[in-house]
Amino acid sequence: MTSPPTSIDKPAVQTISRKQSPAAERHIEEQVVALNDVNVYYGNFHAVAGVTFNVPKNQITALIGPSGCGKSTVIRCINRMNDLVPNARVEGSITYHGVDICSPKVDPVEVRRRIGMVFQKPNPFPKSIYENIAWGAKINGIKGNMDELVEKSLRQAALWDEVKDKLKESGLALSGGQQQRLCIARTLAINPDVILMDEPASSLDPISTLKIEDLMRDLVRDYTIVIVTHNMQQAARVSDQTVFFSLNEERRGVLVEASPTRDLFTNPKDQRTEDYITGRFG
């Protein structure tokens, strides 16, 4: 496993916007996370069966599919959040830079330290905006100028201008869209390698959603992002790779197709994908 990033200074985010991330244009992609034949069980219920796909570095991978097909379950395996669900069991291999993160030797705390997560419903801590960001850095032993880190994270999350004068106010006083960007800033403050987003815009209005999408395109230059979304247009707009899930006859979530986003939406390989993206099913 790579050593944890200990410094808080990363190159400042450039302001020029690009349509595609640099890695997408390269021929050889580095795979940050690889899932191989992953099965998830909740007690006796076999929720997800035989999922295999890779997450390439500095790209956005979108997981789409109908409700209940296991997208969220799969994304939660990547940072071991399913450990928190009683009776949840994961089989198969999930590697992060070649290390099997499901191995009993691997500490889930270390995994989550490198693979951050943003949730469906904004969940800022009931503390000040400043503390919302500084807390993660503090508990992870990140040293340095905390004020600078807070500002840098908020700028990265495109929230600084809106909150710079009220850092001492509660994070709960912000609007939904602002809260979600605060949660993104909080995740960025611990300088993760991968950011998982579980329907980050599903509870937001269209303008806030657009802001989050723009933000993701900015962030993907420095981070690797996996996003679960209900919204096909969103996947088409922001992602480099799309993974389509569906339910099989036994009502288990299965992976149908994983392709570069443009291919999946213009030229789906599987009939079920085509049915879904054309709105005939789902």
Binding site: R112, N123, I139
Partner: protein
């Protein structure tokens, strides 16, 4: 055709109310009066009780009554020793029972695996909360006073009371901890926090007002308990103030009980005055609990 379809003609029916609607409304009014009567009778009983006590005890209530020690002569006897004993007992009980109770609640909610063993544990904690208090007194007498040879001292009384309130504090603590939204925990875990960091910085601060409210209510119940301390060794008649945890003691309800069993009328008046003091303490504690609930209840919203 659907079973729940709208009756035909509902649109054209008079908006002033049909006989059916009027009879339903009448039934509603009757029922609401029954509830008012039920509430009123409870409040009335309490008012009569308070008035009787005040009427009998107010004349004995003065500063010397509150500070004086007990005496075999009614005009010299006061509640001072018992008040001091109550303060000793309740402070020690809080110091013993709160850390243990909150610790147990945190363990059961955040750490313990969900299996048959913890289910048995859980059921028994609920059962303990319903055990008659005199049983705790016997336990205290047997274990603390005799086996541990602590005697009929303040520490025995406080340990006995701690056992009595512990299940209530554990259950109140568990409920407050369970009410902390899962999303808050997940947010903290996702930042690479350990279980203890999540508990220490997020779960406990949010749960604390609820825990404190439950704890204060448990302690105010303990203040009024007579039976366990009577059994575990509180004295009815004590003419010196305790000044260490290894001293003998008495508490307000035991002192009141002792006075009511005396034949002289003067002592009955003292008992009534003692009850007023006890009630004032209880009301004060319950007000603190209400303030906690309101002050912190408003802030928590997700």
């Amino acid at each position: 055709m659907s079973v729940f379809s709208t009756p035909r003609g509902i649109v054209t029916r008079s908006l002033e109310g049909s006989p059916g609607v009027r009879s339903r409304k009448r039934r509603g009014a009757i029922v609401s009066w029954i509830y008012v009567a039920a509430t009123a009778s409870a409040v009335l009983a309490l008012a009569v009780l308070l008035w009787t006590i005040w009427d009998r005890g107010a004349s004995s209530l003065d500063l010397s009554f509150i500070t004086s020690k007990s005496s075999s002569r009614a005009e010299r006897a006061g509640i001072g020793t018992a008040l001091l004993g109550t303060l000793w007992i309740i402070t020690l009980t809080a110091l013993i029972a709160i850390p243990l109770g909150v610790g147990a609640a945190v363990y059961l909610e955040e750490y313990a695996p969900r299996n048959w063993w913890t289910r048995i544990l859980q059921t028994n904690i609920s059962n303990l909360a319903g055990v008659p208090s005199v049983v705790y007194g016997l336990l205290g007498l047997g274990v603390f006073a005799n086996i541990l040879a602590l005697g009929r001292t303040i520490i025995t009384g406080a340990l006995t009371m701690s056992l009595l309130v512990l299940p209530i504090i554990v259950i109140a603590g568990q409920e407050s901890i369970r009410a902390v939204p899962l999303s808050l925990r997940q947010g903290a875990y996702a930042l690479g926090a350990t279980k203890w960091q999540v508990t220490r910085y997020h779960v406990l601060p949010v749960a604390m007002p609820g825990i404190l409210t439950g704890t204060i209510l448990a302690l105010s119940r303990a203040i009024g308990e007579t039976a366990p301390l009577l059994v575990a060794g509180a004295s009815g008649y004590l003419t010196f103030n305790p000044d260490s945890i290894m001293d003998g003691y008495t508490v307000l309800p035991v002192q009141i009980f002792y006075w009511t069993s005396r034949p002289q009328d003067e002592f009955r008046e003292l008992a009534a005055a003692g009850i007023i003091v006890l009630m004032i303490i209880l009301l004060m504690m319950n007000s603190v609990a209400i303030v906690f609930r309101h002050r912190f209840g408003k802030r928590a919203r997700w």
